[in-house]
């Protein structure tokens, strides 16, 4: 295998990994804190992407990265707002409910997202052109590295570092971690657990929306976007350890590499290595790479 091929393999798998991590980050954050596996997370990611798309349409063609980033942030804010509504209307009411019903309820939310998306934006495929600076590719020797890929990898890294700093170095972040570890104790210590939950949900949804905006140029936009990412996001957080951001980060890299290598070895069955890896890990070490045993 030539160096160029290896480079391509690495870049592709890292791009996939970072894209998946961007989606998975909010999902694992909410699970780690509220212990709710939000099936609809992929749906809100999709809404974020569509929102960024609409914004791009409204603003007209632009070649500014700044505008692209702004669109992503706007999507994040919008989806965070939706998240607050969802928290109020749905998530809070799921407090004492059995796990199975929580899964079903968040799945129902996903359906609502998909239905709403189809209603508002229709079934047609759309695409958003990335700003000029991110378009095209760098040619290094015989390797071709798309600029958008590098952008996505950079975004993933940035979000990871930002989240790690937030959770481990800031007071609010450590509060979130404390509550995730022991909400009862936290409540006893006078912390307003409900408010932190709501903030965490908002953050989780914001991350979904942000991911949607950042990745909007990465693939075609269609109502099946949610389904496409949900399973991969699940797989990544399971492998990484549910509730762990660093687990999601390294898990996505691991799975991305395994899938890319698997595809090179056994082409024609896209996604198969991913599933095998996910199943094996679920069986051998269900708490994931960095998770704690329940």
């Amino acid at each position: 295998m030539q160096a160029a091929d290896i480079a391509t393999l690495l870049v592709n798998s890292l791009t996939w990994a970072m894209a998946t991590f961007l989606v998975a980050a909010g999902l694992t954050l909410v699970f780690g804190t509220l212990h709710i596996l939000n099936f609809s997370h992929g749906g809100f990611f999709m809404i974020g992407a569509y929102a960024a798309f609409s914004l791009a349409q409204w603003v007209g063609t632009s070649n500014s990265i700044a505008l692209y980033l702004f669109g992503s942030l706007a999507a994040g804010v919008l989806v965070a707002g939706l998240g607050l509504v969802v928290d109020r209307l749905v998530l809070r009411r799921l407090a004492g409910v059995e796990d199975a019903y929580i899964l079903i309820a968040t799945y129902a939310l996903l359906l609502v997202c998909e239905g709403s998306t189809k209603l508002v934006w229709g079934l047609k495929y759309h695409s958003v052109m990335p700003p000029a600076m991110l378009d095209g590719a760098w040619v290094m020797g015989s390797a071709v590295v798309p600029r958008l890929s590098l952008f996505i990898i950079a975004c993933g890294l940035t979000v990871f570092i930002a989240l790690e700093v937030f959770l481990n170095r800031t007071k609010s972040g450590r509060l979130v971690k404390a509550i995730a570890a022991d909400p009862w104790m936290a409540g006893l210590l006078g912390i307003n657990v409900r408010r932190v939950y709501t903030a965490t949900v908002a953050l989780g949804f914001a991350l979904a929306g942000l991911a949607g905006g950042l990745l909007v140029s990465n693939q075609a936009l269609s109502p099946s976007l949610a389904s496409a990412f949900v399973i991969y996001a699940f797989g990544v957080i399971i492998v990484g350890g549910m509730g762990s951001i660093s687990g999601a980060f390294f898990g996505s890299i691991l799975l991305g590499l395994i899938d890319a290598i698997g595809q090179w070895v056994l082409p024609g069955l896209p996604g198969l290595p991913f599933f095998i890896a996910m199943t094996l890990i679920l069986l051998l070490r269900p708490q994931g790479l960095m998770g704690r045993k329940h």
């Binding site: 199975a100 359906l111 239905g115 599933f275």
Partner: protein
């Protein structure tokens, strides 16, 4: 028996009567409805069995699977391949399709049931179903994304008699009889000691284990049985719709039985069947409005989980005096 005890094994007779009535009504359908609606009615029967076998897992045993579509598709594709490509007569093909579903379920169950936490099991079943979907769409022999079409309605030769199920509404009648038999089998299983043990496993697995009930084995057996029944139902789709596509293995098909069950009421034997009827009506009414069926289904499901966890039958039970002796725990 005290009505307050929600233990099955009591009012079995009532369920047999309901089954007889429902089948009689079902057989009357072709004289009242047009071709298009008869087709839907046939699908409703099949989906009712799909929902009822799901509830063997969820309502009876407390096992939540997000991947039942893989067995449905396995049955459908097995029937299609056996009859079309290998020329098998329909009845043996149907049985073989059910067996295939059972084997697949035994395999998946052996792997997925090793850890008892429900969330992991649910996600594993989702993943396996996606894998199945992936494999189907990438297999030339199964028609890739186009599936297998042109499937014929069979002609049954039972000894001396020949029944052409391709004529008129004959296959619909066959569906009613076949599904009725499957529903009867499901009801029978629920009323056995095994069925009661599964209810115990659902309520308190540790207590059940310490009564000598092997929890994992019981879950595996019911998962296998449910897989078999689901595949048997799916196999009927092949000659009925006369085409099988990968959509049958898509995860939205896995969530259909969940919808039927929750809407109708998971604590009641007939819940999933009622849910299948209601949701088919909803889907039919909203079919032309893009996105509306997803939206309505999602909202319905949310409403049921948040406000009406007992489903429609649960609501009815509350209105008619709150007796819970109606079905399963």
């Amino acid at each position: 028996m005290d009505n307050r005890s929600s233990f099955l094994g009591g009012p079995a007779r009532r369920d047999w009567i309901v089954l007889a009535v429902v089948m009689a009504l079902g057989l009357l359908v072709p004289s009242v409805l047009n071709r298009g609606l008869i087709f839907i009615a046939g699908l409703v029967w099949i989906n009712a069995v799909f929902g009822l076998s799901f509830n063997l897992l969820f309502g009876l045993s407390g096992v939540l699977s997000f991947g039942q579509a893989m067995f449905f598709a396995a049955g459908a594709y097995a029937a299609a391949v056996l009859t079309q490509s290998l020329g098998w007569p329909f009845l043996p093909a149907w049985i073989m399709a059910a067996v295939a579903g059972g084997l697949l379920a035994a395999l998946v169950g052996a792997v997925a049931l090793r850890r008892s936490e429900g969330v992991y099991f649910a996600i594993l079943t989702l993943a396996f179903a996606e894998l199945m979907h992936l494999l189907i769409t990438n297999t030339g022999m199964l028609g890739r994304n186009d599936g297998l079409s042109g499937l014929a309605r069979p002609v049954l030769s039972l000894g001396a008699a020949r029944l052409d199920l391709g004529q008129g509404d004959n296959f619909y009648y066959f569906i009613v009889v076949a599904c009725g038999a499957m529903i009867a089998l499901i009801r029978f299983v629920i009323g056995t000691a095994f069925g009661r043990a599964l209810q115990a496993v659902k309520q308190d697995p540790e207590r059940a284990e310490f009564l000598g009930i092997p929890v994992r084995l019981h879950r595996l057996v019911i998962f296998t049985l449910a897989g078999m029944m689901t595949a048997a139902a799916g196999a009927l789709v092949a000659p009925w719709a006369q085409i099988v596509t990968p959509e049958l293995a898509h995860w939205s098909n896995s969530t259909n039985p969940i919808l039927y069950t929750l809407l109708g009421g998971s604590a009641y034997f007939w819940g999933p069947a009622l849910g299948a009827v209601l949701l088919s009506a909803v889907f039919y009414v909203t079919r032309t409005l893009v996105g509306v069926s997803d939206l309505v289904t999602g909202l319905l499901l949310l409403a049921v989980v948040l406000a009406l966890p007992g489903g429609v039958l649960g609501l009815l039970a509350r209105w008619t005096g709150g007796t819970r002796g109606k079905g399963k725990a």
